[in-house]
């Protein structure tokens, strides 16, 4: 049976610490301003407290990756396990993928004049190591799952604030944040 790898973002556990994002920089040394994994605070319409609930997002390794279909240089390939791999040696820096991706996953690197994006650490996965961000997450809020076997009943594919885009099929799955009982000051 094949596997379909995906990120699980559990906002109930996520503390927005950005460890995942820095773990990515630590592994790949993106230049200043180039960020492959970003930690997005949820707007107050979605979670009533500012900067207190987050989605940690990188590439969603979609079922129908628009970066891949729109690339004139064939710089993207999708593996059997779902990982969408960008090959910098083929990239011509045209940024078609940057414009096409509704999630902002491919990022242009002006220094290299090429695009880069989350590779789901496929080199690490091929050596049975977790992706750098997943290994780094101190709370288990960011996990790697196999969508073919994962019990998705408590997760959603299109939570508030995240474009579901069934046509593209982003593989990331989400659990919503929780709220505590508030006892505010009376005077």
């Amino acid at each position: 049976m094949s596997v379909r790898l995906a990120f699980l973002v559990d906002s109930a556990l996520c503390i927005g610490c950005a460890t995942c994002g820095m773990a990515c920089k630590n592994q790949y040394h993106q230049e200043e301003g180039v960020v492959w994994r970003q930690i997005y605070p949820l707007s107050e319409e979605i979670y009533p407290h500012r900067d207190r609930a987050f989605y940690s997002l990188a590439c969603n390794h979609c079922d129908n990756p628009v970066c891949l279909t729109g690339c004139p240089a064939r710089a993207f390939e999708q593996r059997a396990d779902g990982i969408v791999v960008h090959k910098p040696e083929s990239c011509i820096g045209c940024r078609n993928c940057v414009r096409a991706c509704p999630f902002g996953a491919p990022v242009y690197n002006p220094a290299a004049r090429k695009v880069g994006k989350c590779s789901l650490c496929h080199e690490r996965i091929d050596e049975s190591l977790p992706p750098a961000c997943v290994l780094g997450c101190p709370t288990g809020a960011l996990r790697l799952v196999d969508l073919n076997t994962f019990d998705a009943s408590t997760t959603v594919a299109a939570p508030p604030g995240f474009p579901g885009r069934e046509d593209i099929g982003p593989s990331t799955r989400f659990k919503p944040p929780r709220q505590p009982v508030l006892v505010r000051r009376t005077a």
């Binding site: 049976m1 230049e31 500012r50 910098p88 590779s119 050596e127 290994l135 709370t139 505590p180």
Partner: protein, 769 residues
């Protein structure tokens, strides 16, 4: 997901036939590195760490690994596995065998490769032509040490002692060999020491009065707590690896209550959040205790067997405290106060994590005593999953070889009252000598220098400390610095203290040095190996001491006793002893190359044998030692500081830095680009401030211009600014707004009272453009 679960996941994947080496085999080595400019290898050439470019994971076997430790004064003090290829640090990971970190680090720890290869690092000794001018000239180590040595000898000739030389050092690197800085000063004679700690002293004294020492349960045992109150701590920012134990307790059915002046990230993960009035923590705890007496929920067996003075405490509470009064003091509804008190008392084991924030008040030590009392009278002290958790020094029993240096023969020093030189002082309690160092309060560095005479502070050595960023009343610090002839700072970056120094000496990152590290929270021990050669002309603290000694003795033989030839690896090894070996189950430090070790504990609970180190051997609700030191004998209510401006100002820790470290890195700026003052929407509206506006925050101490971030996370009467140093291009500094008012306790065990960092007040207005 634990490490085991992660591994299992990959085992399952492999069983399903996922290719170990996908179709991209060979891409990394052959393609990417060759194709992209500015690969990391360039950084290795000591010509200069150019901003390094993209790289990829080259395979498990492509790297040499070394053991390191993050030494930046953090609860989590993580063990690190450094991955090095051809002398270049490529990436870091957490020590996989550490149950506390489970292979991970934090946002700060993962930025270390950038610290090492940052183009902003101080590369050579340099002299500033005029302080604050930025006119730096490269000088040789010989030149630097000659200038410094001549000044030191001049001090001795002028004053007849070395007391005109001051040292201020704290927690920039808690590696044990870094106490060689104190050793260096001792080897020169009796000097002036800025003693105490800005961090946690009031609470240390409080726990010593109550229990005879500061000692906390293993944080990993929070998973077994049935009820957790996190009081004035924000582990989601400041101890991210503790969060999983709190989550595990919740998963098992425990309730988590966060008590804090602001709605922190930790509060957002709790079951219940209480927005307490700052400084009213003690009153609140006393009110809860009174309610437990009224409800018959005091653990009278525990109290009778294990404490003294409970009768007096109960009489005080019945006389002076009601839940209604406490609720009013704290600004909270009395029903909630009573309900949580009952829940806490009936859910054994129940624990309170006492944060350091709570004791940064004029009544901070007394507040901690009141909270301790609440834990004790519910019988939760000494119990796994229970405890009044604050911190510990249980694992710090090293030799302090680097620290322990002797003054040159015939040295003249200070005569008078003396005490411990900080919480880690290994000589505390030893016999008084004829002469001692002159002890000044580390938290009032500016006032102490301004007041000093006979002799004045003529030269200042600053290491492991960013005084101008982190010490209190910045304007006064600059005035005090003007009185000092020579200021020498040892550091990694051109921070705000270096800006005000005459000479700067470049030091090493942990990856370029040997030392050993433990935590004041968890019970793990980490080796720190030299993983890469020191960058540029950087030296460790003890190498600098040896070089200084060489120069001093060349100019005046016998003027410095510090060994002139030190090997950092040997000196690391000299810190180990049988006690450490046995506590951690190792034969020698070399065993730590296989991985970090955890102390073998009879129980995860501190005070598990209920043998307290107080004079009575019991938990002391009435402390004679407290009374003798001028405090109430009982944990009574002590009012907070009178307000001196319209709004409360809080300046706690952010998640992107450890004091003034890490936030300056360009990698960190990608996630946190600028500082803010956080303002409640009601307050913002009243002041005509819109989100993102530039505002002026001001009080009697000074002012700071910063952009406003409007949020209900802070109460309407409170302003919040995270302490941080955003790099040389940003002058942001919260200590323009924080004075040096002392907290009540700290002198007993650390040599100086703490500082009331959170008893500050300010006003805010829209800034004119």
């Amino acid at each position: 997901m634990t490490m085991d679960e992660r591994t299992d996941f990959f085992e399952q994947m492999l069983a399903k036939g996922v290719s170990r080496r996908g179709f991209l085999k060979g891409l990394a080595a052959a393609g990417v590195l060759a194709a992209l400019p500015g690969g990391v290898l360039q950084a290795a050439q000591a010509a200069g760490p150019e901003p390094f470019g993209p790289t990829v994971f080259l395979g498990k076997d492509a790297y040499q690994t070394f053991r390191n430790a993050c030494p930046r004064n953090c609860y989590d003090t993580c063990g690190i596995v450094s991955h090095v290829k051809e002398g270049v640090l490529h990436y870091v990971e957490g020590a996989p065998e550490s149950g506390f970190t489970q292979g991970g680090l934090c946002v700060k720890g993962y930025s270390y490769p950038r610290t090492v290869y940052s183009p902003d690092r101080i590369k050579y000794p340099m002299r500033q032509v005029e302080r604050g001018s930025g006119n730096w000239q490269r000088i040789s180590w010989d030149d630097a040490l000659d200038t410094i040595s001549r000044k030191f000898l001049d001090i001795k000739e002028t004053d007849g002692s070395m007391l005109g030389l001051g040292l201020t050092k704290y927690s920039g690197n808690f590696g044990i060999t870094h106490y060689g800085v104190e050793g260096m000063l001792a080897s020169l004679g009796y000097t002036t020491r800025f003693v105490g700690t800005p961090c946690w002293p009031a609470g240390i004294d409080a726990q010593n009065y109550d229990m005879g020492d500061m000692w906390c349960n293993d944080p990993e045992d929070m998973a077994s707590s049935r009820y957790i109150i996190i009081w004035g701590a924000n582990p989601a920012y400041c101890s991210v690896h503790s969060m999983k134990y709190i989550y595990e307790a919740q998963r098992r059915g425990a309730k988590v209550v966060v008590i804090d002046p602001v709605f922190t990230q930790t509060a957002a993960k709790a079951d219940e959040f209480w927005e307490v009035k700052p400084g009213a923590d003690g009153a609140l705890a006393l009110g809860m205790a009174r309610h437990l007496i009224d409800s018959g929920l005091v653990d009278t067996d525990w109290v009778q067997q294990n404490s003294i003075g409970y009768g007096d405490f109960e009489a005080y509470l019945k006389r002076e405290v009601t839940p209604e009064w406490a609720a009013e003091q704290a600004g909270l509804p009395v029903e909630a106060v009573k309900r949580v008190a009952e829940e806490f008392a009936t859910a054994k084991p129940a624990t309170i994590w006492i944060g350091y924030g709570m004791q940064r008040h004029v009544n901070g030590g007394q507040n901690v005593r009141a909270v301790d009392a609440l834990v004790a009278l519910t019988g939760n002290v000494g119990r796994p999953g229970g405890g009044a958790r604050y911190g510990h020094l249980y694992t710090w029993g090293f030799n302090y070889h680097a620290y322990s240096q002797s003054p040159p023969e015939g040295s003249v020093g200070f005569v008078g009252e003396t005490g411990p030189k900080g919480e880690f002082d290994p000589d505390a309690g030893s016999e008084a000598q004829t002469y001692t160092d002159r002890a000044f309060n580390i938290n009032r560095i500016a006032q102490e220098i301004l007041d000093a005479s006979e002799p004045p502070v003529r030269a200042l050595w600053i290491a492991n400390k960013n005084v101008v960023s982190q010490d209190f009343d910045r304007a006064k610090i600059l005035k005090a610095f003007a009185k000092v002839d020579l200021i020498v700072t040892v550091d990694l970056f051109f921070n705000q203290t270096v800006e005000q120094s005459d000479i700067v000496l470049p030091t090493v990152t942990p990856f370029e040095d040997w030392t050993v590290n433990v935590s004041y929270w968890h019970y793990w021990l980490h080796l720190n190996e030299q993983a890469i050669a020191p960058m540029f002309e950087a030296k460790s603290d003890i190498e600098i001491a040896a070089m200084l000694s060489t120069r001093m003795n060349a100019l005046e033989p016998g003027s410095c006793t510090f060994p002139t030839d030190v090997d950092p690896k040997e000196w690391m090894a000299k810190e180990f002893n049988d006690g450490i070996h046995s506590l951690f189950g190792i034969d020698s430090w070399e065993d730590l190359r296989q991985g970090s070790r955890k102390a073998t504990l009879a129980s995860p609970a501190a005070w598990n044998d209920l043998g307290f180190k107080t004079p009575s051997g019991k938990y002391e609700f009435v402390s004679q030692a407290a009374a003798e030191n001028g405090h109430p004998a009982l944990p009574t209510h002590l009012p907070g500081r009178e307000s001196y401006a319209p709004m409360r100002l809080l300046t706690p820790h952010h998640k992107y830095g450890l004091h003034s470290q890490f936030q300056n890195l360009d990698w960190m700026l990608d996630y946190s680009s600028e500082p803010f003052v956080y303002v409640n929407p009601v307050a913002a509206k009243a002041k005509g401030i819109v989100d993102g506006d530039w505002v002026r925050v001001f009080n009697k101490v000074g002012e700071e211009k910063v952009r406003a971030r409007v949020t209900g996370n802070v109460p309407a009467d409170t302003l919040l600014m995270y302490e941080a140093w955003f790099g040389a291009k940003n002058a942001y500094n919260v200590n323009r707004l924080v004075d040096d008012e002392s907290s009540d306790m700290g002198k007993y065990k650390t040599g100086a009272p703490g500082v009331a960092i959170h008893d500050q007040f300010a006003d805010i207005e829209k800034a004119t453009a």
